[in-house]
Amino acid sequence: MIPLNYFLVLSIILFALGAIAFFVKRDLITQFMAIEIMFNAANLAFLAFAKSAGSLDGQIIVFFVITVAAAEAAVGLAIILLIFRQKKTIKSEDIKLMKG
């Protein structure tokens, strides 16, 4: 059996990758995908903990998180679409009307 720590380390790496990608990438869609990776890292952690503790809770929670992520995708893509319609770009550095 694979020890719990392996899963944990993987999920932390995934999460960190997502977080780094979020601020390295310049494309709204890619940035959003980075967030999805972070959510999935969390899912992995939930599953690993659920498995090691032998409880079902964690596995059920994952479904909730997946649902939430899907809902976010729906709203998020709509917003990004709106930006694209108006500015004809989805580069995140073009969005800086407000600052200071």
């Binding site: 999460f15 709204l28 959003f32 972070m38 959510f39 969390a42 009307l97 407000m98």
Partner: protein
Amino acid sequence: MNTIYALFPVLIIVAASLLVMILEVFLKREDRSYLAYISLLFLIAAAAGCVKFWDKGYSYFDGNLSLSNLSLFFCFILIIATFLVILISMKYLTLQNANYGEYYVLLLFALSGMIIMVSSSDLIVIFLGLEVLSLSSYALAGLRREDEKSNEAAVKYFLLGSFASAFLVFGIAFLYGATQATAIPSIVEGLQSGSSFGTLGLVGLGLVVIGFGFKVAVVPFHMWTPDVYQGAPTPITAFFSVGPKAVGFAVLLRIFIPYFKDALESQLMFGLLWIIAAITMIAGNLIALRQTNVKRILAYSSIAHAGYLMVAILAQDTQSLVFYLTAYLFMNIGAFAAVIALGKKDHEYLELEDYKGIGFRYPWIGATFAVFLISLAGFPPTGGFLAKFYVFSAAVRQGLVSLVIIGVLASLVSVFYYLRIIIYMYMKEPSYDVEINIDNPSLFLALFLCLYGVLQLGIFPGNILVLISQAVAALPF
């Protein structure tokens, strides 16, 4: 008591939003104000429910949704906040071309999410509520579709918001791993019993603080606040500045008041929140000094207020925290209402320059705005003063003297930018004409209600304090 009545507040709000959504299809564009009246009616019904359930202690879903007095009090003030926001929106929507039926639907959905958050003590349920709130908020921020700033606000809020949510979920996962639980009481218990997963739990708790810290806008997770506040439609900004902050603190309260009871285990976390509170108060107030856009000033001011509220968490004084939130609701929505009042068709007056001489030209708006600003700055005899006084003296009692000194000095700085608006309104000659649409009865009703709230809380806080003390008597949850 386990009864389905416990679902009443949520259900009625959800029902209202569904009804509004359906009706919108059948109504002509100019008749959309009926949607507002329907929403208001349902809100009154929900509020009446909250009053009726007081002291009953209803719960459902195995206690995952429970209406303790504290939950009910939070529900109540959130409903009031939404009520006021709808009042200040009605005319605004037609004036600023944002009259979409979705507006009220989304607002009510957001409210239902908040009610779920305050009436549950399970982190997963809270997370779901938070997402209901957030998703509606993202859409609300971008509601003025032709306005570039509004779109920008939506995308910034959305990306950074989901980013923060990811941290929150990850944190919940860690807490689950460390304590095998998602219910706050068991988590706190698990953390305090000091298992082998101590570090894991601590990191999880830290990540949860980040997640909610984003919602309540504490430094350094506040970066979205000014931009989103500036870009979103003004009534929505008023809503953002009050609703999510209140629920965020409601959750932090549930976690940290019991957690801090065990002084030895919680020292590290205490220090962390101490630092956050201090830098939030300092940075929020300092940056606000340099702003010239009134919405941005109020945005930074709301960051600073998050800092004062953090002090209340550290002082472990629920009563003063809840009182502060209540006072903050009235003065902040009131301030935004006054800002909205200064608008005409397709234009809002948001720059400080526009406020020159307003106090004499529109004496009522000027005077009420001045009262709200004075209250935000913490002068007697307003609710803001008493709230701050309450929080700081509770903190001194806990021995947080240096934090209080920082807080008092920071609020000293805050006086400058609040009073600057008043100075502009009363002590400068206007350089151009500011024409506003004065025919706005619902907004004036909201202004009046907020004024009443601020003064009532400042001068006769007795009744509300009694209610609050009944509400917090349920602690720990």
